[in-house]
């Protein structure tokens, strides 16, 4: 049986060339161009996808390393007709200007709310064991791996806070 990787619920064979990063596999081989290549070195977060529930930089991992894994990209979160709560919040809050970093921001923020719900602390948390509230400081620290060169940060934080409030985080 061929080795496969699941992308948004569909199994795809793992590429032959081991040098292909998960990011290039998504964009170049599968034409899922929602995921963006910014720095290609794990510094900007534009390539953020969710693998087995955890957000990672798809530029710093090889597609071949993800045999049997479940990858969710921006295309898997929602559609223009049926956006996810986070996608809708970014639209409603104008959480972008050029939009290039937006898919990474949305994948990252979606997984981040799960981390807060799990009670996982961050560098901004007062204590390591307390319940965590999605405050501005918590969101800014937890989203520091996603850069926005247009500087739409205020609206990005507003969008995330809105979804967190809806979800009771």
């Amino acid at each position: 049986m061929a080795e496969t990787i699941s992308i948004n619920g569909t199994a795809h064979p793992i590429p032959d060339d081991p040098r292909i990063t998960l990011l290039d596999f998504l964009r170049h081989d599968l034409r899922l161009t929602g995921t963006k290549k910014g720095c290609d070195h794990g510094q900007c977060g534009a390539c953020t996808v969710i693998v087995n529930g955890m957000r990672i930089n798809s530029c710093l991992t090889l597609a071949a390393m993800h045999e049997g894994d479940e990858v969710t990209t921006i295309e898997g979160l929602g559609t223009p007709d049926a956006p996810s709560p986070m996608q809708r919040a970014f639209l409603e809050n104008d959480g972008y200007q050029c939009g290039y970093c937006t898919p990474g921001q949305i994948c990252s923020a979606t997984a981040m709310l799960g981390e807060i719900a799990n009670g996982w602390p961050s560098d901004a948390s007062e204590t390591l064991d307390g319940p965590i509230e999605a405050t501005g400081d918590e969101i800014r620290e937890r989203m520091s791996g996603n850069l926005c060169r247009c500087g739409a940060y205020a609206n990005i934080v507003a969008a995330i806070r809105g979804v967190a409030a809806e979800e009771g985080a």
Binding site: G42, G45, T61, L62, D123, D129
Partner: protein
């Protein structure tokens, strides 16, 4: 990236076999290695993907300590209930480094083996004795803001960049290693990283074909634990200076002061003379100064990083002040 042969190891034995040979490397999280492969700083001929060999477990040890598998991610370690409760300095150090995306992928073993972020090491057009032995050191007369003020040599003034290992050093953790012949050895993390000397290409004591299998923490001690990191921005930046501290007090005097420092040297810096000077004495500005004098006795700046010497002194003061208040 240069072409390489890729093999997926299914067992530790597989992994050790595949990584035999000078140009073979193990890949786990890959967040540092793939970055360096794209820059052609690292050009392995063979990569062993060790992610499926089952070394991700975090489990209690018989002696009341904790064994963190080499493939446990930085996130898994930082949020583990026992790490948060008994080894908070480790949670804090991990959470102070990188980003959530990177911590979700980075592993315990890989984090220990991460390479310096010296600009000259990471640029193959520049001289670097670490990357290309004998080519010289660009940082010695160049841009050296991130660089070492302790334990450097005329060959290399690079720093070890990580936070996790600084906490592990303060906690006196051990590193479990399996070798090519299946032989296992355990060494204190304080002896894992090397000083550059005249072999700056050597970051640590791992021999070719050896793989880290776990890090073991001794049974927890009481007192207060702190990790203080000074950096140029408040998130996602390497330490200019960091201090990991485990401090206990009784009747107004220090009974324990296990301190390790990041950002100052080619390895997490631990000087047992500092604890000797502090233990048995009551906290005071003069005592903290004496501790800083010991730490910085042989400190030497290289122009751009001269600021690290007074910064280390002030950071040590701040940590000891806070720790003695917490522990009192």
């Amino acid at each position: 990236m240069r072409p390489f042969q890729y093999d997926r190891a299914r067992t530790l034995t597989d992994a050790v076999q595949i990584t035999q040979g000078e140009d073979a490397m193990a890949i786990a999280g890959g967040t540092n290695l793939l970055d360096l492969m794209k820059l052609q700083v690292e050009t392995p001929g063979k990569l062993a993907d060790i992610n499926r060999v089952g070394l991700g477990e975090i489990a209690d040890t018989d002696g009341g300590g904790l064994r963190i598998g080499a493939l446990a991610t930085n996130t898994a370690t930082a949020v583990h209930p026992r790490v948060r409760a008994d080894y908070p300095v480790l949670s804090r150090a991990i959470l102070a480094g990188a980003t959530q995306q990177l911590r979700n992928k980075a592993t315990t073993g890989g984090n220990l083996c991460q390479r310096t972020r010296c600009y000259y090491f990471m640029n193959i057009d520049q001289p670097c004795n670490k990357r290309e032995p004998g080519s010289g050191c660009g940082a010695l007369d160049g841009i050296a803001k991130l660089h070492a003020v302790l334990g450097a040599s005329g060959e290399c003034i690079a720093t070890y960049p990580g936070d996790m290992a600084v906490a592990l050093s303060a906690l006196d953790a051990s590193v479990e290693i399996t070798g090519s012949d299946g032989m296992e050895r355990t060494i204190p993390v304080r002896d894992f990283h090397c000083l550059p000397g005249d072999t700056p290409w050597r970051d640590n004591v791992l021999e070719p074909g050896e793989i880290i299998t776990a890090v073991t923490l001794p049974a927890p001690v009481g007192g207060t634990q702190l990790y203080r990191k000074v950096r140029e921005r408040s998130s996602y930046a390497f330490a200019l200076v960091s201090v990991a501290a485990i401090v206990e007090m009784q009747d107004g005097v220090f009974t324990r002061a296990d301190l390790s420092f990041g950002g100052l040297a080619h390895k997490p810096w631990h000087d047992p003379r500092i604890a000797q000077a502090l233990v048995g004495n009551a906290p005071s500005a003069q005592l903290f100064d004496r501790a800083a004098d010991i730490l910085l006795e042989e400190a030497q700046g290289h122009g751009e990083n001269d600021f690290k010497i007074p910064l280390a002194r002030r950071t040590l003061h701040a940590v000891l002040e806070q720790a003695s208040e917490n522990a009192a």
